[in-house]
Symmetry: C2
């Protein structure tokens, strides 16, 4: 990592990040202002380094097999304010300021549909991921 | 799926859920009351069915290669109020009421450490995942 990076890295945590057998780590993008989970994507080491150096979320596109700066064509970029790592160092949360919708469908979050609901689920009880109305 | 399930499933979405080449789908557990991202774990079809039938988050333990009802030994169970699916049907968000801490370290969330931060990151600006203080 160079001295020109936008994000400041914890060197102890950095050396222990675990990439899977495909060299990838899942990264959950969460909007800071709302708590909304926007999307789940994957990073390889290069895309994580690029994110840290530029301050913009850059993933590894598994379908296209290339680095993918989120919003590169749509303009819906993700400014990263922090990156959290979990207890076993094999998953990340990116704390994001999202420009426009995160989803290619133009929904704010990619998680805009409910696969299942409890009968007593209440759409008005602070359900952060349901800002899009999916719990209604 | 039987008629005795606790969660009500959208049958159209159910048939399109995509499990990966290992038969797994990543599941993000998010606390409803706070928006906190608690953990990322994996489900196979059986664990997803068990979650829907019982209303308690049940994952597939990749290390132990068996079904894993979260909190089975600790008592820190996760009551599932909703399950969201993303636009390409290969990731889930579980909307959770969490009993006790979600992490085996006794931290509330498994994402309790900051790998990286922006110099201007503000610990007081509604950063949902940082309820544990990791953005401080």
């Amino acid at each position: 990592m160079s001295d020109t990076q936008v994000l400041q890295v914890d060197p102890t945590l950095w050396k222990d990040i675990k990439f899977d057998d495909k060299g990838l780590i899942p990264a959950i993008a969460q909007e800071i202002s709302t708590g909304l989970v926007l999307m789940l994507a994957y990073m390889n080491k290069e895309s994580l380094e690029t994110t840290i150096k530029t301050g913009y979320a850059t993933y590894w596109s598994r379908s296209r097999q290339k680095l993918w700066k989120k919003g590169e064509t749509s303009g819906h970029v993700q400014t990263v304010k922090g990156i959290l790592v979990d207890c076993d160092q094999d998953a990340l949360v990116l704390l994001i300021d999202q420009e426009g919708p995160a989803c290619h469908t133009n929904e704010k979050s990619c998680f805009y549909r409910a696969l299942a609901k409890a009968p007593d689920a209440n759409e008005n009880t602070g359900c952060a991921s349901c800002a899009g109305g999916c719990c209604g």
